[in-house]
């Protein structure tokens, strides 16, 4: 019991010391969830042409997480997007739920031309159809993610969102791309 009191005293003293040392200096780290400005708001200030696909997907994942999120490399894209012309891609970022438990995935592509982007939409639509066929009998509870999925082309950009909050995810992407 004495030892407990001793440790409690020490903890209290250290806490007071630490607090007084800190003075009025604000904490150097802030949790993402406590950040006052939303990621989308921050992104909106960035010109679309300067946005990196990886920054966009990261911003989405910060707000709408995916279980076992894993970023895929370019060479594996044809395994997921049948018929996608990878040579026409200038920049991209693609995350999937690697465990296979959930249908969640986020893809953002920037193509060399808007025609390239236009052609790529079919591969993305086919991917969504495959996911729908796969998961509709497997995890019906997860189908709301697929049913509310977003596939959007904006100039050279194509984005594809299958998440637990597609509306929020899309608003974040629009914050970057307009």
């Amino acid at each position: 019991m004495k030892k407990k009191i001793l440790f409690a005293m020490l903890t209290a003293v250290l806490a007071v010391t630490a607090a007084s040392c800190g003075g009025n200096t604000p904490a150097s780290t802030t949790k993402a969830s406590e950040a006052p400005a939303s990621t989308a708001d921050t992104a909106a200030a960035e010109p679309a042409s300067d946005a990196a696909a990886a920054d966009i997907t990261k911003a989405v994942l910060d707000e709408v997480p995916i279980n076992s999120a894993f970023e895929k490399k370019k060479e594996s894209l044809p395994d997921y997007f049948d018929g996608l012309d990878v040579d026409a891609i200038e920049d991209f970022s693609y995350y999937i739920c690697a465990s296979g438990a959930y249908p969640d995935e986020i893809a953002v592509f920037r193509f060399k031309t808007s025609d390239n982007a236009d052609s790529a939409v079919k591969a993305v639509v086919d991917r969504l159809a495959y996911q729908k066929e796969t998961y509709e009998t497997y995890t019906p509870d997860e189908m709301y993610k697929i049913d509310g999925a977003v596939i959007q082309q904006s100039g050279n950009w194509v984005y594809y969102l299958v998440t637990s909050d597609n509306e929020k995810a899309e608003s974040i992407v629009k914050g970057f791309l307009g």
């Binding site: 001793l6 440790f7 003293v13 594996s76 690697a98 465990s99 438990a101 959930y102």
Partner: protein, 294 residues
């Protein structure tokens, strides 16, 4: 004059404060000394139980690893396969029993060891591709696949068997059954696994075939009732018997992923309590390699 007295007062306060800080530091040093010499036990503080648990896990790792390496595996029987490689041995009955004692072990494996191997499985094995462990060419995996549908389902124009035939792998690892637990019946699934094994053996006579137990489920998943540890253990038992009858190697992965309560360890389980985290694949591959090399 009054101002000077005020300044003296502030100086005195600073001196007292300094003395207090020095006293606190001395107290801190004494406490650290007591702690280091073992006269002060951190366990006395209620909130410090966690590190003690972690320490006991480390002890388990060392203990179980020692147990495994001391076990002499039996050589694979002639009945099992026609293979001639001396280093490939079947885990003995005793080894299988002892493996159930282990929960957390080494996660290291050699990528080149599996360079010519082929994996058949359900959504859990899609993770082998998704995480980039193996290319699609080495895996036949589909969400929802079970021992029944594995005989007929196609992917990229191939069934599981025809893809094996085209590949002629060195080893074939099959892990199927989690999807059928709730509705297919354990006996039927074990029978279908036997059919799959026989078909694979026919088209890949030189391949080593390994049937892998289905993995455990977490306590939370178990409580939902659709897939439970009673079902998992029941099916794995039948699977093991089937392997003995068919003369193929049964790999008890299930026990390797369990925690000390007999459920899927949270260190390896996805949030749904059924699928694998990335760490579980390393654990699995390490177990495969060690089982075969021993």
């Amino acid at each position: 004059m009054a101002k000077k007295n005020k300044v003296d007062g502030i100086s005195l306060a600073i001196v007292i404060l300094n003395i207090a800080i020095v006293a606190v530091l001395i107290l801190l040093v004494v406490l650290i000394y007591l702690y280091m010499t073992g006269k002060l036990e951190p366990a006395d503080v209620a909130n410090m139980d966690q590190p003690k648990e972690a320490a006991s896990i480390v002890t388990t790792v060392i203990t179980t690893d020692t147990v495994e390496t001391e076990t002499e595996p039996e050589e694979e029987t002639a009945e099992t396969t026609t293979e001639t490689e001396p280093e490939e041995t079947e885990p003995s009955e005793e080894e299988t029993e002892e493996s159930t004692l282990t929960a957390i072990e080494s996660d290291s494996y050699d990528e080149s060891f599996f360079a010519n191997d082929y994996f058949i499985g359900d959504s859990i094995y899609t993770g082998l591709i998704n995480y980039g462990y193996f290319p699609e060419s080495q895996v036949f995996a589909q969400v929802g696949l079970n021992p029944d549908s594995a005989l007929t389902k196609e992917e990229g124009g191939y069934t599981a068997v025809s893809k094996a035939e085209a590949m002629q792998p060195k080893r074939i690892f099959i892990m199927l059954g989690s999807n059928g637990l709730a509705y297919l019946g354990n006996t039927h699934m074990a029978d279908q696994m036997k059919v799959l094994v026989e078909q694979l053996r026919e088209v890949c006579p030189d391949s080593y075939i390994y049937v892998v137990s289905i993995p455990p489920v977490t306590k939370e998943h178990d409580a939902e009732g659709q897939e439970t540890m009673v079902m998992v253990n029941g099916y794995n038992k039948l699977l093991k018997s089937m392997c003995e009858e068919a003369g193929v190697v049964y790999l008890d992965l299930c026990s390797k992923l369990e925690d000390n309560t007999g459920y899927f360890s949270e260190a390896y389980a996805e949030a749904d309590g059924l699928h694998f985290l990335g760490t579980a694949y390393k654990r699995m591959l390490s177990f495969f390699q060690r089982s075969i090399e021993l």
